[in-house]
């Protein structure tokens, strides 16, 4: 397999990081800490890179092409960073207020339709009669669960939950537990697919490289060694690296 040096180094780095991160499932150790700090630093750096790219493409480019109003946006963008100033932190509230305001406006205007009215409408239109018995029964169960779950989340009218009415909340809890069981199984699927992705990378990209088969046990032994508490291992002693 002909691979250039840059790709080889890339695969080695990615492989080491993968193993180091997985070590956390067993115990905290110095290699995990290193990989984790790399992750956090890289994520922050990546955000800056794309933030810069966006500011340049959507702000700077139009500005240099003559859209002078963008000067205001640039000023607002820069004063966002006054939030770190001891005295003038409050100046950053103005651009933040614009962002928050847009966010609220966009979310509220659509939420009331997409997540409230559309859901009510779809429930109300379900047929219990005039369809085959099984569909009718299923739809009935559906309607009962939606109604009981909404009822369950009514908090400030305690009389709605007294005595026999408590049964409604019980049904709701059963409905939600079924949903949680379903979600849990799907999460297992997601996480296992992710593990598969990483193991597949290790086995089909890294291990075929020269030296990887020898390196793997060494890497694993080092990680295992790093998991021994500092006081119990012969070297290095606590206080030096940890």
């Amino acid at each position: 397999m002909a691979v250039d040096l840059a790709s080889v180094v890339q695969i080695w780095l990615a492989a080491l990081f993968t193993i180091w991160i997985y070590s956390i499932a067993f115990r905290d150790n110095v290699f995990f800490k290193f990989a984790e700090h790399t992750f956090v630093g890289a994520a922050a750096g990546h955000s800056i890179v794309y933030g810069f790219d966006n500011v340049r493409r959507y702000g700077w480019d139009p500005l240099t092409k003559g859209a002078l109003l963008y000067v205001v946006v640039f000023l607002l963008g820069v004063i966002l960073y006054t939030r770190y100033h001891k005295k003038y932190f409050w100046v950053s509230r103005f651009p933040l207020a614009v962002m928050v305001g847009i966010g609220i406006g966009l979310s509220m205007r659509a939420t009331v339709t997409a997540e409230f009215i559309a859901q009510i409408q779809s429930t109300a239109a379900m047929k219990v009669l005039g369809v085959d018995a099984w569909t009718g029964f299923s739809n009935l169960i559906f309607i009962i669960i939606v109604l009981t779950v909404v009822y369950f989340f009514i908090f400030t009218l305690p009389s709605m939950h007294k005595g026999n009415l408590g049964l409604i909340s019980k049904i709701a809890r059963f409905g939600m537990m079924a949903a949680f069981g379903y979600s849990f199984a799907n999460t297992v699927l997601s996480r296992f697919n992710m593990i598969f992705g990483r193991l597949d990378f290790l086995m089909s990209s890294w291990l075929p490289l020269p030296g990887a088969m020898v390196a793997m046990p060494i890497v694993l032994i080092l990680v295992a060694y790093a998991m021994i508490p500092a006081q119990k291992r012969p070297w290095p002693k606590p206080g030096k690296t940890k």
Binding site: I24, F32, L147, G181
Partner: protein
């Protein structure tokens, strides 16, 4: 001037605004009463168990910032922290609060100190030992909490707030060391893990109700009451709509489409 097909939505939105603001105003005069929350009722038993076993209670509120969209969940978590601290002070149990957000530290200190004063044991509170800022990074915070669990083996673990991927790590670790657990979050993806592993659960919006009920804050209580009216309307519309559909009428459907 109105856009066809969006009229009912606008009317509904305005109605909801009126409910929410109106209830907040009303709550200033008289707080609404709340239904029982099964999760909260378990707390005295949990803290009592810790007292019997002479082991600490662990509390944490997950990630998120007081300035972000999940702030209300964090606020709810802090309100419950006050109540649990008071219980712990009364039972003479040590409660340890693991913190992810440095900005929360002063607020948490105030809340816990007041709780100890309410319990009549102001001297028993030691902020440095009981409020531990671990890290502002998700997995560093998560591993630090796990380390604490393994070392000090708390008898009870309470997690209320915005939780992310660390929910599974926490609930599994505390389960393994035998802690009795109460968890609550409004982050939908994480509720199933809590439901599977924890002994007691506050489901989704229940944490807001718990926080409002315990803090007696009129804004929070009123807001929840306003939302309840919205839920009542949704309930009635669905109920009547289903009956109308059975009767062959699409009156509710047409109304909602307006």
């Amino acid at each position: 001037m109105l856009v066809a097909g969006r009229i009912f939505a606008l009317g509904m939105l305005i109605a909801l605004w009126v409910f929410i603001i109106g209830c907040m105003e009303m709550a200033k005069k008289k707080l609404p009463s709340f239904r029982k929350l099964a999760g909260l009722d378990a707390l005295p038993e949990m803290v009592g168990r810790a007292a019997e076993m002479n082991r600490p209670v662990h509390y944490t509120t997950g990630l998120g910032e007081l300035t972000g969209t999940v702030a209300p969940q964090l606020v709810a978590g802090l309100a419950v922290l006050g109540y649990v601290s008071e219980l712990a002070a009364k039972y003479g149990v040590k409660i340890v609060y693991s913190v992810y957000q440095a900005q929360v530290m002063p607020l948490a200190t105030e809340i816990m100190r007041e709780a100890y004063i309410r319990a009549g044991k102001p001297d028993a509170f030691n902020a440095e030992d009981q409020i531990r800022y671990l890290s502002g990074e998700q997995f560093a915070y998560a591993t630090a909490v796990q380390g604490f669990a393994e070392r000090e083996r708390p008898a009870a673990n309470i997690m209320i707030g915005p939780f992310y991927a660390e929910s599974m790590m926490f609930s599994e670790t505390f389960f393994r060391i035998g802690s009795i657990q109460l968890a609550g979050t409004a982050r939908g993806y994480q509720i199933p893990f809590f439901a599977v592993i924890c002994d007691y659960l506050l489901i989704g919006e229940e944490i807001y109700a718990a926080g409002a009920y315990l803090s007696k804050d009129p804004v929070q209580c009123g807001s929840i009451q306003g939302q309840d009216l919205g839920k009542l309307i949704a309930w009635i519309l669905m109920f009547v709509g289903v009956l109308a559909t059975v009767a062959g009428s699409s009156i509710i459907n047409d109304l909602l489409k307006a």
